[in-house]
């Protein structure tokens, strides 16, 4: 995954609270290998009618080239399924702006280069007014944690750890490999002081 710090793209509004991970990707699509692409599954049951044909008025159907999504509170609540983030990323979404996010969803996002940008209620309301049901060009800067829309600047919050992670795009496993000695030392200490932590080899049963 390559890091990024600035992005300019078309933003659209998804004016719904509690967009949970089961909405972002219904469970029935989750046995698909990632290499097939998950973009078509994004919000599948919301964007399609009962017979599977697209709902023409649904925001991501009207604006299939959007790369920024403005949502409401508690975006991505629910399950740990990273597939919810794959669906967003494979659709082409780089950032979701909302007043709050599911905890696991935000860490999954950052692990896939998707920015979960938190804004205040007032700023979210401003964005919704600006965008309406159209699309609007928005610029994001992770370094300064600022959103730019026309001549307006809106701050967003993101932990410094996550900002760094999004910008450098490193894989955590590579970073952790550098700490092998510390991990081995910890493991040895744990096995010595609390040996019962390591389950005994299974007996018959």
């Amino acid at each position: 995954m390559s890091g990024w710090s600035e992005h300019t793209g078309k933003a659209i509004a998804l004016d719904i609270e509690n967009v949970d991970t089961d909405q972002l990707i219904p469970a029935r699509f989750m046995s698909t290998p990632r290499s097939d692409g998950y973009g078509d599954f994004l919000l599948y049951d919301m964007r399609s009618k009962g017979d599977g044909t697209p709902e023409p008025d649904f925001p991501i159907n009207r604006h299939p080239h959007a790369s920024i999504l403005i949502g409401r509170r508690n975006f991505g609540s629910g399950s740990s399924r990273e597939a919810a983030v794959y669906a967003l990323v494979d659709f082409g979404i780089r950032a979701v702006i909302a007043t709050s996010f599911g905890d696991i969803f935000s860490s999954n996002s950052v692990n896939n280069g998707l920015l979960p940008a938190r804004v205040s209620e007032e700023d979210a309301a401003r964005l919704f007014t600006l965008i309406g049901d159209g699309q609007i060009e928005v610029s994001l800067d992770i370094k300064t944690t600022k959103i730019r829309v026309g001549d307006q600047t809106i701050p967003f919050s993101l932990s410094p750890a996550w900002a760094q992670k999004l910008m450098n795009g490193w894989d955590d496993i590579d970073i952790t490999e550098h700490h092998r000695p510390a991990i081995s030392a910890y493991r040895e200490r744990r096995a010595k002081t609390l040996p019962w932590v390591f389950p005994a080899e299974e007996t018959a049963g």
Partner: protein
């Protein structure tokens, strides 16, 4: 003065990174069929599972509950897990293993879940294991791959929150009602960014099953972690379980476990107090767990809510096919489901059976025990007869109709009274309408064919 969270966090912290995250040691890593993305990432790096002895696989999300897998794709998901586990020398409780069941039921049942451990699983309801005083949290696929490769995880320490439940729950009111009550009060984002520790007499008075239900639902209130300090109830539950320490090792462990409690005067970032006696049996009416109310109330009217809320309530009621202002007890149901990692344990089955005994269900339904061991125990106690005689189907163990991945689903437009944890749109199948409630309440709904206050139905019976 330390909180339980501080103690558990400190005990697992290998180091702190420059960015402020902690590198934590993982004592138990539980994987299920959904881990295929993570194993694929591992394979792409040519890496091996770092600690196969601390890693356990369980078939649950796609497990068939009536013999054969419903489709070849479902069978493939199960085979993939079993193959990945075998390739990495990881013990796997597969379909033919008597230890098989839902990962959050099996971990505690097998003694893999112990106080003081850090437990990860690629599943949000990993918070369940916190009921033992463990640091347990759900992770995504990238994190699962990281744990597989390194047996560690990078994590920002959450804030500490305490939910203190004073007094005792009334008869017919249980952990599920308590959990839905606090989520309704604080909202599904209410505990975001926090680890919730549950304290108070009502929690102390709960069995391990009840505590697990409570911690399980923490994630529905936004908390990635739920936890309860261990006590004698915990120790008695653990003793003698397959992977739990035995003999002198158990006593030694207990010495440590007894230190796992928040110090008197420890400061929490947030405190909430709930009076247990105020809680009535609760059902959900909408499409989020926060859409919950005592069964004695009515479906809310959007016109009574603020403008922002009104729209959401309207949409939820519309999806659910309800009428504003209608008494909840007049809502007719089409079917019931009893099971899941929230309420598929032996005590849950007993509670449902105590309502169903000698009665007939007016609607069809499925009862799926949380594990094969629970299934065997329930059959030994004759609970299966109660369910079957009431007209419900007694099926195999797995996630089943909680998430509808194995083919057990609720048809579009149908209404299900369910002991599960998520009433999201389409959770139990496309277009399905889910009402969450306790096992006793589901049993009551089955008997009457509509949402029902279970309390009168318990009169003169031993409520389990």
């Amino acid at each position: 003065m330390m909180t339980l969270l501080d103690k558990l966090w400190g005990a697992h912290e290998i180091m702190t990174g420059e960015d402020g995250r902690s590198l934590l040691w993982v004592d138990r890593h539980l994987v299920h069929e959904g881990s295929h993305h993570a194993f694929a990432k591992l394979a792409a790096r040519g890496a091996r599972v770092a600690e196969p002895r601390l890693t356990f696989g369980v078939v649950d999300h796609y497990a068939p509950t009536r013999g054969l897998a419903a489709t070849p794709a479902i069978a493939r998901m199960i085979e993939t897990l079993e193959r990945n586990a075998a390739e990495h020398d990881v013990t796997c409780f597969g379909l033919k293993d008597r230890r098989q069941g839902i990962v959050h039921v099996v971990g505690p049942e097998q003694g893999l879940t112990l106080p003081g451990l850090l437990i990860n699983c690629g599943d949000s309801h990993t918070s369940t294991h916190g009921a033992f005083g463990a640091l347990a949290f759900g992770i995504g696929a990238t994190e699962v791959a990281h744990v597989l490769a390194t047996q560690t995880i990078w994590q920002c320490k959450p804030k500490a929150m305490r939910i203190n439940v004073t007094g005792q729950l009334a008869l017919g009111v249980g952990a599920k009602d308590l959990a839905l009550a606090w989520i309704a009060k604080l909202g599904t984002g209410g505990a975001q960014g926090h680890a919730v520790e549950y304290t108070g007499d009502a929690v102390r008075g709960m069995s391990m099953e009840g505590r697990m239900t409570l911690c399980n639902l923490s994630i529905e209130g936004g908390a990635r972690f739920g936890m309860i300090a261990p006590d004698d109830t915990t120790f008695n539950y653990i003793k003698g379980r397959r992977y739990a320490p035995k003999g002198a090792a158990f006593d030694e462990a207990m010495g440590y476990w007894n230190t796992l409690r928040s110090d008197d005067g420890a400061i929490f970032d947030r405190e909430v107090t709930i009076e247990a006696a105020d809680i009535a049996p609760i059902v959900t009416w909408g499409t989020s767990p926060e859409d919950a109310a005592p069964v004695t109330e009515n479906v809310p009217s959007p016109s009574d809510a603020s403008e922002a809320e009104a729209e959401r309530i309207h949409a939820a009621i519309d999806y659910m096919g309800l009428t504003p202002g209608k008494p909840l007890t007049e809502v007719q149901i089409d079917q019931v489901f009893i099971g899941s990692c929230t309420n598929g344990r032996i005590e849950d089955l007993r509670a449902a059976a105590s309502v169903l005994a000698g009665r007939r269900a007016k609607v069809p339904g499925l009862v799926s025990p949380g594990s094969q061991e629970i299934k065997a125990q329930a059959e030994a106690e004759g609970l299966d007869r109660v369910f079957v005689e009431a007209g419900l189907d007694w099926v195999g163990a797995g996630c089943s109709m909680c998430v509808a991945m194995n083919g057990d689903s609720v048809a579009s437009g149908k209404r299900c009274a369910s002991t599960t944890n998520r009433n999201f749109r389409g959770r139990q199948g496309k277009g399905a309408r889910t009402h969450l409630m306790s096992p006793a309440m589901v049993a009551a709904a089955a008997v009457t064919g509509h949402l029902t206050d279970v309390r009168p139905l318990l009169q003169g019976r031993d409520a389990a």
